[in-house]
Structures are given as structure tokens and as C-alpha cells.
Symmetry: D2
Subunit: 418 residues, 4 copies
Amino acid sequence: MENSERLGVGIVGAGFMANFHVTSWTGVRDADVVAVQSPRAESAQALADRCRELRVGDARAYTDLRELVRDPRVDAVWVVAPNHARLAVIETIAEEVMSGRASLMGVAVEKPLGRTLAEARRLLEVVERAGLRHAYLENQVYAPAVTRGHELVWARGAASAGSPYLARCAEEHSGPHAAWFWDGTRQGGGVLSDMMCHSIEAGRYLLTPPGANQSDWLTPVAVSAQIASLKWSRKRHAAQLAERFGDAVDYTRRPAEDYAHATITFRNGDGDEAVIEATTSWSYVGPGLRLTFELLGPEYSMSAGTLSTEAQLFLSREIRSPEGEDLVEKQGAEQGLLPIVSDEAMTYGYTTENRVVTGDFLAGRQPRESLKHGVEVTELMMAAYLSAETGQTVRFPMTGLDGFVPQVAQGTWRPGQA
Amino acid sequence: MENSERLGVGIVGAGFMANFHVTSWTGVRDADVVAVQSPRAESAQALADRCRELRVGDARAYTDLRELVRDPRVDAVWVVAPNHARLAVIETIAEEVMSGRASLMGVAVEKPLGRTLAEARRLLEVVERAGLRHAYLENQVYAPAVTRGHELVWARGAASAGSPYLARCAEEHSGPHAAWFWDGTRQGGGVLSDMMCHSIEAGRYLLTPPGANQSDWLTPVAVSAQIASLKWSRKRHAAQLAERFGDAVDYTRRPAEDYAHATITFRNGDGDEAVIEATTSWSYVGPGLRLTFELLGPEYSMSAGTLSTEAQLFLSREIRSPEGEDLVEKQGAEQGLLPIVSDEAMTYGYTTENRVVTGDFLAGRQPRESLKHGVEVTELMMAAYLSAETGQTVRFPMTGLDGFVPQVAQGTWRPGQA
Amino acid sequence: MENSERLGVGIVGAGFMANFHVTSWTGVRDADVVAVQSPRAESAQALADRCRELRVGDARAYTDLRELVRDPRVDAVWVVAPNHARLAVIETIAEEVMSGRASLMGVAVEKPLGRTLAEARRLLEVVERAGLRHAYLENQVYAPAVTRGHELVWARGAASAGSPYLARCAEEHSGPHAAWFWDGTRQGGGVLSDMMCHSIEAGRYLLTPPGANQSDWLTPVAVSAQIASLKWSRKRHAAQLAERFGDAVDYTRRPAEDYAHATITFRNGDGDEAVIEATTSWSYVGPGLRLTFELLGPEYSMSAGTLSTEAQLFLSREIRSPEGEDLVEKQGAEQGLLPIVSDEAMTYGYTTENRVVTGDFLAGRQPRESLKHGVEVTELMMAAYLSAETGQTVRFPMTGLDGFVPQVAQGTWRPGQA
Amino acid sequence: MENSERLGVGIVGAGFMANFHVTSWTGVRDADVVAVQSPRAESAQALADRCRELRVGDARAYTDLRELVRDPRVDAVWVVAPNHARLAVIETIAEEVMSGRASLMGVAVEKPLGRTLAEARRLLEVVERAGLRHAYLENQVYAPAVTRGHELVWARGAASAGSPYLARCAEEHSGPHAAWFWDGTRQGGGVLSDMMCHSIEAGRYLLTPPGANQSDWLTPVAVSAQIASLKWSRKRHAAQLAERFGDAVDYTRRPAEDYAHATITFRNGDGDEAVIEATTSWSYVGPGLRLTFELLGPEYSMSAGTLSTEAQLFLSREIRSPEGEDLVEKQGAEQGLLPIVSDEAMTYGYTTENRVVTGDFLAGRQPRESLKHGVEVTELMMAAYLSAETGQTVRFPMTGLDGFVPQVAQGTWRPGQA
């Protein structure tokens, strides 16, 4: 069967993230991007053209999701649609598969899995009912610095000195590109909902030994979190948002948090306490997107940061050049010392992610980083929102999180009250 | 008056910290260390000898505190005795001054000011009653990287873009040298009590504009904290402590926290929210003592870290050399890449601290970094312990903290419960 | 034609470098390693097995070079044999092609191209006579930090401020793995012959604008160089070599240089002076292989270094773990702070090199980084040896370098004389 | 005798360097700046005022050098006048002392010692004839990163593995502040004459064991150097110089070198070869003044760089703030990432230099870093110019350097010829 040798991939969504995936595909051997879909025809076409330009696949552009799913060249679907559209997309895919109109080897879904725990659970349920293999697209657990750091800590440190007890993971930048991210009700919250899924899952991965599954190794005990609106609800900056995105985004009246910090405590497989400190921010202004990771244990420590780059450029005050993101995502300046992230798709983990998921689907294996992880991460995020709202540590096992909708997502949050 | 030109300083205490002060004195122009005191005669003598060796003063060694205070060459006293002895020392000094047996221009007191808020308040009261000028010896607010970073952020960043909203300050190492630090009841707690005072005050300093006083600029709103015993209550490491310090330190039965994280929210002088993230650890194992600082605002950020050194040494696996702290305090290895902190007394702030306090006392000025700050910091630390014990955010104004004694200081704390 | 879609690659050589290429192939989309050859059957078989394990090709193992060349699955050959075997390999390949027994789209040859200028010229001649497209495998001009740094310097710096005038390139480590590298007569010299080809070509690449060819942009004017035997001819270290490699490597009597520095001056396409400082060393002992690059111009500078890694591991003095090269090539320690090069094949440029050369061969294009560059680099290296031997700057145009054989390659060099 | 306890210092010169010395004096305990002299009264007065403001001495301002020397409060003189005035100043001081009109404990002289070897030798001769103790003010051998790096390499590395064999020292910035530096005939050359003295002496210091004297430990064997005018003789930049400094500085017709590199070989006290690579540049554009140091030996390496700072500031493209040197000397930008050198006088070595020289003079000791070192360094610099001019390695012992005047100093140098 020819599909077992080379995977035909259809990408649903044609925005910023979809472009990242396509770029990463230049480093993926065993799969081609054969189809892309977006309700906006020109976006779909542009992405398909880019696939050809990068020689990652002779991609056909669709506006109709069902057509993409039915395309016989498509063996697996990557769902990269916005948060609010994701569940509906999955339901459509499942319908097509269950009806026999389409045949797929697997589906891969971008994080976060849901805007609420209920939504995330529902999504997993739909996929499982359709009998599909599934991957949770958490790129950071594939970032080379994270995977090598993890491997070396466990092999050289934990092997003799004992398991690590603290993982610090952070993602910080100056705020997202597209309008819907800023709208709490559409996105599901603010920066916590947008990005803490990354830091939580990276932390779980780092704290778990190679070969084990974080779902088994780490039992959640407690979550404590704080959120704040530090920058974007200041008058000057709220006005900037209004100017960029129009009335839909009014942070003087319906702000979302632009800063969140959570401390999550687990019992690990050795019976020891293990802690994740997860930090996310849209109020960080530095050279660009900053991902940092630390893993600490009894006689060792590992640290990694995406702005600790191999290469740096310095431009003097004499040089005026146009605003851009050519050195790094969310770039903040065009003078002074500037770190260069040479291959962002590789550094952030997309390249390896797509290699691994492709390999699993081709081999008929269920990817370890499954949608179940996405559900667990969503649960911890909801616990973090709840803790931040109530000023109380949330203890596990915890029931009743299913129906919980963060105040930010409801548009009722008032900063500075907790 | 001759005292106005050159300050004669008496140091009370002759341990690790007293040695740091004496070393720093090689960079202090207008004062001499003329006396040192310790109940242990040989310690006092050794420190006095070191003063002469470093040419920082022809210091006389005392075992009797009252004699030091009455020494006419002593114009001011630096109290560097252990936490549990500090209040008694201050009371004795005050008695001597109020009785007219001694005449002093001021007294400088090491952090933390008290093991409880009551103790800190009592200490300030005693000093004020004696009519003494007073300095709170928080070295980190004098560290050159912190003071220059602060100055430049406010001048180049905040001046046009608005005040900073987030300060992250951390102090992390592998654990203290002396036994009493490890004993919660004597020391007042674990790592939070030992070191979070540094990070809180550094954070308050950074968030406050030059020329303003942090007591006025920052009004506390809420404190949320977590503590844990990540390393030292593990069986293997508790046994190491017992071996080093004897039965007095039994972390299987009476552990102290070796990790603490607090989020402290303030309203600042502009009416905006400002946050300190303070982190302290005795469970960090890296090249050595690590102090890190970040200050973030709307269009700028500053970061500093004492292990980001100008100089690094690499020693290959072929080189075996004895264990030491010659590269950095709390050094963790003698192979591999190793940062060199060239002048620790300068880097950590002691040199400038002693220059500034000396200058204030000589000029007859009350130092800005006064014992009042020490009281405020103690209050925030107690709120952090309370939050960690209850799993609840502590909101200000808060009454009743005076009598609060942390469980760790009572010897009743059980890790993993909160 | 099916070959136009997917390139079948045969690798000649199965040592350290061949393994690096195979590893890099996990990131190469449009080609498969279909054959490998080594005179040692077990080496060939091991490498072929590794190809399958990494899923980069169903490679067949050969001991006979001619058989590999004739294998119809082989569309192009990568020649990664040792320096002393390279020309003979190429001659054999050319014979097979010219006789019609084999059909190839191209041949790619590892650096340096020859041990003498005559050898390099001969190699190019043979390949051209056979009508083959050819690539010079200089990995460093494909290293992501180098290519992105180059691109950004020219786009953001040189575009408005003028072309760069100084490139500094260095490769330094503790010495090669295999015996033949240490034997001047077999290898062609010492560290200069082994590695300066990298730094010279990286420097030429950096100084040349995107789209231009360094052969055209840079006209050599003068070469000045020094070589020395700083470490390995010291008695203790010469004895270490003898122990590792036997009598063949006697650095007390026939040393090769373990340090070389060259300053190469060019006239660039703007008529301005441009300088390469190239440094190579086998006497550097640090965390591991160190490649550094700087590109300087009137109002900008770029710097990159492979030991400026995203991730670092710290292992305390309590941890003893076995010697290894798992963190970085030529790793020097297993304690202390240790940089982690997460994906060496990518960082050093092999992955992109193989993507680009593959793409060129598939498209029927002559690769820009051609064997002609290899000849030019060899010429500059010979000029450097000549300058070091005579203590005189070598000026271009220079005739008579063809027949020049360095004293080190002749076994007649005496350190400390120049 | 009161002078034995506290040294009264008179500073001759009131420019950029004199200000650096005065700033550094805030960290010097046993000496006061009691007098300053400049032919320009307002400069002298401004510097004297600054001494009072910094509380480093109640300095009297002189325009007449003889009056300063005769001032009874002056125990020692620091000569910080420009290169072309230095010898005359020393001759005047010596006359005053030999005539008995003045009494001094010592004289300290800024580098370089002379614009030619003859001048440097003459200066030493004059000082010795006057019977004065003398210090050569080479700040870099007192820089904390250099002194600690040196100490630790020898103690932890060389002690067991053997002496270091390579020192790399560089000083690079965008060009000096004052006009006379740019004028080859007044200054004595270009960047080599201006700054290579630093790197050579730092290199000699690093290669020499603690306690030994570099004059004894290191015997020069050969010098090879290159100079170039990479930036400032380009039309655009020569015009900038003309605009800043007027016709006196015409780099289209009388350029000085803005880049120099020298390789200096020594035989060390162990009989082994030891090499200095010295680099200086006025054509480096980066965040600011960059001093770098490396010391390499058989199983170790040390590296230091003044731009590897503890603290960094980031200012986004939204922030426009005035040009300045508040973060670092020769600052190049006010946006982007910017290293902060918190205490430049300490980092560059001035503070410790003045502590050590003061201590030596007070103790009646001849400083180890004597004018003899200044003569030796000048000799190596002249050899470097000679090598660069002739394209030949200069071998030692070398006679006839005394009368040598570099072409750049004669105004006859033509770039791009060597």
C-alpha cells in the first residue's frame, strides 16, 4: 500500500500557524502537504502556492472542508483552525470518516484543545468514536533544546542523583497578531488560555522520564495561579488595540489577562513532589518571542531559552531599516543587539513534531502526545483560571471543572480584584 | 568635628557575612573598621586580623558587646549577628546609648529584620527610641547591575513609555553554610525567611522611581505564595544534612521549605498595578549562587543575573582540583565551564552599600534604606508564609500578622499538604 | 523521468563524516541514501543499517567502489573518503562514467579538495572532463547561523551602510578522532590543512553579497599566516598521541601544527579592501568543538558561535558519569556547565548542505558551491603555509604554488623556527 | 610621617582619561586627589570640582605644571596628558624633583609610554635619573575579570596541566573621541599605536605566572602584524571625520590604520612557545567598547569580555531617546538589546590599578607594573608596525628599532599596499 510509505497531509486552516507548519515541512521526509483548506479562497490558494514554492507538496486548495477530507490523496488531517472553530471542524471530519465518505489514518489537532474542559473532552470523544489515531500538536515538547535537555538530564543527572523536582517554563511576547486572540469570548480567555498550554505540557514532559507517559508519571495535586492585565488595559495601550482591531477589542471595558503565572504541584512516579512553574505573558517587550525552560533536580540543572541564540546582529543608531519579523517572531526592534533565531520552525519544535507524528501515522502507531494530553492540560488551565479568580489553591482530584467558563471568556473579568 | 570626616565602624558578628563586609571595605573610602565583636574570642580576633591585612582599619577585637559600643573610636555599629541574636544585640546597644555610656551616629542592621513581624517592629521601635539613625542592610539594592539597570530603565524606558509593572527577583543556591540556618525554630523559617527579604526589597526598589521611596510609591494589595521541600526532605539528602549538622537538623521530621515563590501585587504611585515575583531556593544546584533580576514595562525590559559573568573558566575532565568556592559563592563544580564572579563583594552590593550608609551617617542623613523598609519586608514575608499555609491569597490591609509565627518556625510544618 | 523527483545517493566512505551526513539526511526530503561503500565491509554494512534505522534510505553496502557507481539506483555520489584517497576515488568514478558503465547526475566532494594545489586542480579537471555537475561539500556555508547572519547583514546593514570589510572565522577543538589526521604526510599537513578550508570559505561567503559568487566578488591580494605546535609537541602530550595512535604519530620528531592563523586580504567587487581572519586549532580545550564567525562592516556587526547554545546542562561535582560526546562533538568535560548542541548535523550545516545540493542536482543546476571554490580555497591554504614557512606575506597573483608541498606534509617542519 | 598613611595625588591632564581616574577614586581608600593640572584653566577647574563632588579629594586646580609638582600636598603625580605632551611633562617633573623644589614618592604614567621606542626609553631614563619610583598605568592588567581569570587559570589549570600557550587580547571600538588621536603624526600612529599596548601587556600578564615578572618570564622571539584602513578611509567615513574634526584629519590623503592584528611569539620560562594574538580596531561597530581576553593551555581555557555583562536593557522600536554613552563607553545604539557596563572604572581596571599603585607608593615599593614594561611594550608595537610595513616577520633580538618611526606617524602610509 503506497500510503504506508508516504503520508499525504491535508491542512485545515491557512493562518500564521498553518504557515509555520508548511515552512517546517522542508525538513519532513516522509510526508507531503497535498491539500489545504480555508473558508477564504485566497488564503487557501496562497498557502497551496507556498507548498509548491517550498517543494513540500503539490497542494490543492479547498474552501470546503468536506472536500479536503474526501480527497483520496489526503491520508491525515492537521487541524490548525482558530480555537472557536476547532470543535466544529473535528465534528465534520468525524462525520465524513464515520459515514465512509473519507478514509483517514489520523488527525492532528493544534493546541489548546478546547476553550473549556467540556469542549476539550467532547473533541477527544468525537475523535475516538470515529476510530481515528490522534496527535496533540504541542510543538514545544519537540523543540530540540527541550528534547535534548530532557534526554541528557535524565541520562546524566537523574539516573544517579534522583528525579527532577522543578520545571520552569515560560512563553512571553508582546501580544498576538490576529484580532480573535485578543477577544476573550472568542478565544476562550487571554494569555493563559492562549499560551499556558505550552508551558504546562513542556513542564510535564520535562518532569517525566524518557519512555514514560506524563499522564501516568504525574498525578496533579494542586494548582495556584494569578492573572493580571499589566499593560494592555492601561489607557494608552488599550487605545492602540482599539486602533489596530477596532471596537471588537475594548480593553478598558472587557480586558483579558496579559500576564499569568501558575504553580502546579504533582506527585511523581517515585512518590516525590514535583512542581511546574508556568508563566505566560503578552506584556513582555524584548527582542522577540521568548521561550524559556528550566529543569532542576538534586545535583543538576538544565536551562534553555530561545533568545539565547547562536547568532546576533548589531545595527548601530545610524541604520534605519523597516519594521520586521525577519530576525525573530514578534521582533521588538531594528537597532542595537538583536538575537537571530535562524530556523524558527526547527527551534520551536514544528519540524520534529511533524516528523514524529508523520512517522507514527505511517507506522500505524498512536502518537504518545495524544489528545488525551490535550484534555489534561485543559483541565490544569481551567484550574488555574479558577484559582486566579477565587484567590484559592485548587486541589485535585477536583470535580465540577467541566462546566467552568473563565470570567475572561465570559467578558466579566475585572482586573486587580484578585 | 573629626567624626564628620571619617567614620569609625564597629562590627557585631564575625561569621560569613561579617567577612563579606570586611572584604567590601577595601572599596570604602571614608570609614574604617575599628572594632569587631563576637562571643567567640578567636573569631573576633581572626576578623580583626583580616581588617589589618586588608588595610581597612586597625580593628580591636571584643567578646563583650558593651565594650565595643563604648569604644570611643566606634561611631556607628553594623549588626551582623545571627537572626536569633539580633534583637538582643540591638536592645543592648540602645541601652548603652540611652544611658549615655556610648555615643553613636547610627546603627546598621543585617536583613531580615526579624523572624516575625512583632520582632521586626520591636527592633525598629528600640532603635527609634534611642534616637539613632538607622540603615537596613539589604545589599541587593546596591548591587551595581541592579542600581544601573534601575536608573537606566527609568531614564530611558519609563520616562517616555510609562512605569514598569513587573519585577522578577530570585535568589537561588544549594543551601547555607552554617547549621542555624537549617533549623527553622532558630532561624525563623526556611529559605523564605532566609532569603526572600532580598528579592522582595530588590523588587520594590526596581519598581520605584529614582528619588522616590518604595514605602510611599508601592501600596501592597495582595500576596500569594507557595513553599515546598523539594530536595532536602528526600531521604538521601536529609541524611546528608544529618551528617553535616548532627541531630539538630532532622529534615525527615522537622523540615523547612527549600523552595518558595511569591507573587505580590501593589498599587503604584501612578495608580497602576505592579507585581513582584519573588523566588528563593536552597534546592538549586548550578555553578553557584544565582541572583537574577528582571524589570519589565510597556516598551522595555531589563534583566540581570550574577552568573552572567564577564569571565568564564573551562577545566577539562583531565583536571582534578580540590573543592572550593574560589570562583563563586556556593560553587557547585570544579570541571566544565565555570563562571567567575571576579569581585563578589562588589557584585552582590556590599561595597556600595557600605559606601552609601557610611556617607549618610557622616553627613548626618537618615539613610533611605531604613529599618522601616525592613519592617515592611518582614510583613510581606509573613503574609507569604500565611498564604502558603492556607492556600489563600492574603489581601491588604491585613491586621493580625504581628503575632503570626510560621509553622516552619514552630516546627510543625508538613510539606506537600498545601 | 523518475530521477528528477527523488535523488538516489551513494556515499563513498563510512567514517565519522559519512555518519554525520547520514544523520543529517533525516531532514532531507527529496533524496534517499541508496548505497554506501567502504573497503571495510563491516563499516559499510553498519552505515547501511544506520540508514534504514533512521529511515533515510534502503541503502545497500558495497566494498567495491565501481559496483556502487554502477548501481542504477545511484544518481549521484557523495565522496567522503579520507584526504589521501579522494583523488583516486574521483578518478575511478570518472572512468566509470566516461566509459558509460555508470550514469550520474553529479558528484559531491568533501573538503579539503586536495592536499596540494596540484591535487585539487587535478580533481576538478577529472570531474569536468567526465561532464559531471559537482558540489564542494563545505558545510559551514550552509550552517543556519551563518546563512541567516549573512542574509540579514547584507539586507539590513550593508544595503544602506556599505559592504562588510572583515570576516573572522575560526574552528577550534582538541584534536581529531582518527589517526590519519595526525600524520602530516598522509593528511597533507596539520590543523591548517585539516580545517582552515572551512574558515576561509565561510569568510569568503560572508563577505560576498547574496546572489553573487565569491569567486567573482573577491580577488585575493595577500596572505599572511603563522603556524605553531603549541600543545601536542610538548613531551607529555606527544606521549599521549603515541599511546593513542602508536609509532606512526611521533610529535617529538615529526610534529604537525596544532594552531594556525591567517590574515587574507582581498579587493572586493566595490573596489574596497576586505579581510578574512581565519583561525584553526587542535590545541583548544573547551566544552567542545567551537566554530565562531564574525562579520563586520561600517555600522553593523554579526557574530555567531556554535557554543552559544540555546540549552545548557549543569552537573555538580557529586555526579560522575562516563566520558562522552553526547552534548557536543569533541566534548571536554562531564561536570560543570556544559553547552548542549541539540542537533549538530543542523547546526554545523550538513542538513541544509544536503538539501541544497540535492535540490540542485535534481533540478539539473550546477551548485554554486562548486569544486572551483575548493580549488581556490586550496590555493589560499597553500599560500598560508608558504607564508608561515617563510615569514613573508604572499602576494597575489602568485605563480608556482601548484607544486608547493608544505614542510609539514613532507615531515620536515620544525616548530618555533618561523 | 603622615604621608605614609595617606597619599596625596596630583593628576596632570584633565581629559577623558583623567576623568576616568577620578571616577575610579571613589573606590580607592588610602589616597586623595589633591591637585589637578591642565593648560586649560576651565578643564582643570571642572575636574577639581568633580573631585569634590565625588568626595575623592579637595583638589586644587593648576594651569602650571611646576606649581602642581611643588604643592606640598602632592606626594605622587599621575601623568595623564596626551601622547605628544607626555615626555615634556615628565622632563619638567624630573627637573623639579632633581632641583629639590619638589619632593615626590613616585610618578605614574599613562600608556603608551612613547610614540617611538626612543621616546619611551628616554622617558624611563629621565624618571630613573630623578630617582623616582614609577608605575606604568596599564589598566587592563588590573581589570577584575583579567586578574581573577589569571589567578584561577594558574591555580586550577596550569598547576597540574602545564603553562598556558596562547593569549588572545583585543580592544575594539568605533574610534576615539578627541581629534589628536586621529592625527597619526601627533598621536604616533593609528589604532595600533593607540591601543595595542593594552592587548600586548594584558597578554604578557596572562601568560606569566603569579609572582613572576613578565619581563623575565617571556623572551620575545618574533612579531608578525598586519594593519589596514577598513572603514575610515572609505569616502563616506573620511567625510564624517573631516566634518567632526576639520581639515586636520583628512583620511583620503593621510589615513591612519583603523585595524591591526599582531601575532607575537615568545619563549616562556619553561622553555615552551607562547603566543599573543593582539587585535585592535577603530572599525568595530557594536554595542560599545569591546575588550576580550582568552587564555588557553593544555587542559583549560579562560575567556572574558567586557560586553558579556551581568545586566542588559532592551528598548523597543517605540522608544526614541537621545544618543549617549550612559550604558557603555562608545555606545552604538539606543534601541534593541544593550549591554550595561555598571561600573566602567572598575570593569576596565582603573579602580584596582589606583589602589595597587597607591599601596605600593605608600609602602615605598617599586610597582611591579613599571615603566620598564612600558618600554618593552613599545618595542613590540614598533616591531609590529615594521612587520606590517615590510610584510615580513620581525625576529628578536632586533637592533635598530630605536630610531624607527612608523609610516603612519610620518604621514606617508598608503593602505592596501602591504
